[in-house]
């Protein structure tokens, strides 16, 4: 055995290389494949046209989430195109013997929420899905990333994809997070510092005290946002927090199988002297609650700061000005106090129980502001159930909020949950591109606490001011 120090990424990658092609990609074996209604139908069509079958149906899991309505899920889906995609997924899953948690199934939810909560996602796996935020699963020490439809067809037919090995970057955040600073703020802060393309070409490992002390749900939020800094994915070494989270989950190994796999999982960390192509260091003390003001996730700042002048922004001045124009903002303005119309709590970034707990902790005993339309969308039925069982629903209802049914919802606005043109949304999702939450919508990305503060005051508000 070689004693060269290796990174966590290399350990997992190398364990999955079926074949290395000179001056070409690696053939990488995929342990888990998630599919949903939008990017899978054409892949299945490809299989049919070539007369191929699904090689390992038990390694693929299907859920309906991107297109689905978040009210009246017991009723037929109104939009014929969406209904058609949902039907195609159901038929394809049935035809090839793939597990399918469709609408109405008690385990249905957003693909990147249900994988971990049911123990489908396990440390050291390679995981892919036709959705770029597949990086979420990296929180468990997995190599997880989004793929295109041809690659979905590859995985279905051969359980492999062909990938060149990316470069490696480690991002360390040292120290302890301040009051009201959540994992989402850590992610938004890093992206604001390195820009939305700062990690292009890299796979990121997050390390340091902040991530060591972070819950699994927080780690998922951070890894989820890796793609927004341009990275192919992000990962965190599994530790006792990871193992405690996984123990007893539906598909987690049990008994002797658990013990043997645990011994392996404990080896999944970067060796002490392992080297990275790039290494970055940040201090937790520099991070306050964050909010974005522009049309890419890198255009964000501390909530008490002003919108920077174009001259302070690296890159094209013209596109920065165009971005502010789209948002209806000016250089050097304070973001605090800006009027908000919509609040969206949800998505695979912040649609888990800890996010609802944080939101509820702040709206408790307060009332929803009259000018706010709030969409609170749990990431899964299991999250929805927890919200009810923990009494969070009562808190929300008393404060004048309603809970919707699980799905991607306003994260990409493929269903009816669209922010109207010109309106401002404080959103816990992951992208603030032009029109992402509906044509003309204006998105301010933030944490569940910042979303809650906006929901009860009607304007952009520092949550710390409400937490005395």
């Amino acid at each position: 055995m070689s004693t060269t120090p290796t990174t966590l990424f290399d350990k997992v990658w190398d364990a999955h290389v079926v074949q290395h092609i000179d001056d070409g990609p690696d053939v990488l074996f995929i342990d888990r494949h998630f599919i949903h209604e939008v990017t899978s139908p054409v892949a299945f069509l490809g299989l049919k046209n070539r007369g191929l079958s699904v090689m390992f149906p038990d390694k693929t899991f299907a859920t309906a989430d991107h297109n689905t309505p978040t009210i009246n899920q017991h009723m037929p889906v109104q939009d014929p195109l969406s209904a058609n995609q949902l039907k195609a997924l159901e038929d394809n899953a049935a035809k090839y013997g793939i597990s399918h948690w469709g609408l109405g199934n008690p385990k249905n939810g957003i693909v990147h929420v249900i994988g971990p909560e049911n123990g489908i996602t396990l440390p050291g796996m390679t995981i892919v899905c036709g959705d770029s935020h597949t990086s979420t699963h990296g929180a468990f020490g997995c190599i997880a990333f989004g793929i295109g439809t041809s690659e979905v067809e590859m995985v279905l037919s051969s359980q492999c994809i062909m990938q060149p090995k990316p470069k490696k970057m480690r991002i360390n955040v040292h120290g302890k997070l301040g009051k009201a600073v959540l994992p989402k703020d850590v992610a938004l802060y890093i992206i604001s510092q390195i820009t939305a393309s700062g990690a292009t070409g890299y796979f990121v490992e997050y390390a340091g005290e902040v991530f060591e002390n972070m819950s699994m749900e927080g780690r998922m939020t951070v890894c989820n946002m890796s793609i927004e800094m341009g990275a192919r994915g992000g990962m965190i070494a599994p530790d006792d927090t990871t193992f405690a989270y996984l123990k007893g989950r539906e598909k987690s190994p049990k008994g002797a199988a658990w013990d043997s796999v645990l011994a392996y999982w404990k080896t999944l960390k970067s060796d002490k002297d392992a080297t990275f192509d790039k290494e970055l260091n940040f201090n937790a003390a520099d991070i306050e609650p964050q909010i974005t003001y522009g049309t890419n996730p890198g255009l964000g700042t501390g909530i008490t700061k002003k919108i920077p002048a174009a001259a302070e922004i690296a890159g094209s001045e013209n596109s920065y000005k165009k971005s502010l124009e789209y948002m209806g903002f000016q250089e050097n303005e304070l973001i605090l106090g800006k009027k908000v119309d919509y609040v969206f709590l949800g998505s695979c970034t912040n649609g888990r129980i800890e996010d609802f707990r944080a939101f509820a902790s702040l709206v408790k005993g307060r009332k929803k502001a009259d000018n706010i339309t709030a969409w609170l969308v749990p990431g899964s039925h299991i999250v929805e159930q927890q919200i009810k069982e923990e009494g969070i629903l009562n808190i929300l209802t008393e404060a004048g909020f309603q809970l919707r049914q699980p799905g991607c919802s306003a994260c990409l606005a493929m269903n009816d949950d669209k922010i109207p043109a010109g309106k401002y949304a404080v959103s816990t999702s992951n992208r603030n591109f032009e029109g992402r939450q509906g044509p003309g919508s204006r998105t301010l990305l933030a944490s569940p606490l910042v979303a809650a503060a906006a929901a009860v005051t009607g304007v952009v508000t520092d949550p710390r001011a409400l937490m005395q």
């Binding site: 079926v18 074949q19 092609i21 000179d22 001056d23 070409g24 990609p25 053939v27 074996f29 342990d31 888990r32 939008v38 139908p41 054409v42 069509l45 490809g46 046209n49 070539r50 191929l52 090689m55 390992f56 390694k59 297109n67 195109l81 969406s82 058609n84 995609q85 195609a88 396990l122 796996m125 770029s132 989004g146 793929i147 295109g148 439809t149 041809s150 690659e151 067809e153 590859m154 037919s157 051969s158 359980q159 492999c160 994809i161 062909m162 292009t200 070409g201 796999v261 990409l412 493929m414 591109f433 029109g435």
Partner: protein, 198 residues
Amino acid sequence: MAYDKFTVLKSTAVPMPMENIDTDQIIPARFLKATERTGFGDNLFRDWRYNPDNTPKQDFILNNPLYSGKILVGGKNFGSGSSREHAAWAIYDYGFRCVVSSFFADIFKNNALNIGILPVQVSPEFLEKIFKSIETDPKAQFIVDLPAQTFTIAATSEIAVFDINTYKKHNMLNGFDDIDYLQSIKPAIQAFTEKSFY
């Protein structure tokens, strides 16, 4: 999806000299609800090409009969944005086989190669020469020679050499894609799974 072999292509070209042509412009999100891979060519650059009432926009290049061909020439950072493979499908289905630019977004380049579009990266100076040549003569011919890895402006015989990895080149020359390759190594994959415990 199988595609036609690519060896040597001689064609006129369609110029789009703007930077950052992103996948949302190439194929807007509302066309992602299809369950089949047909008709994407009709929606290529949909919002640049058609008015809201579906009449063609007269000033858009694809609506100008002077310009046609199997080569699309775009400005820097072509194909940025989301990973939707539909963008590459739309370009292929419309009839393009080669896209030329001075820089391609990573995922687009991958997707293009996967479905049989050859992305040719040339220097910014050479890209200017191509645009210039089309400006002088909309019927100017270009030669894309994949075996030799060269792109030639026929009128001036100026040549640019482009990069492509050996594996992808072999695939394009033979009309193979990754799925064909993976099918051919199935025994190795099967053997690999026997030692995998997930």
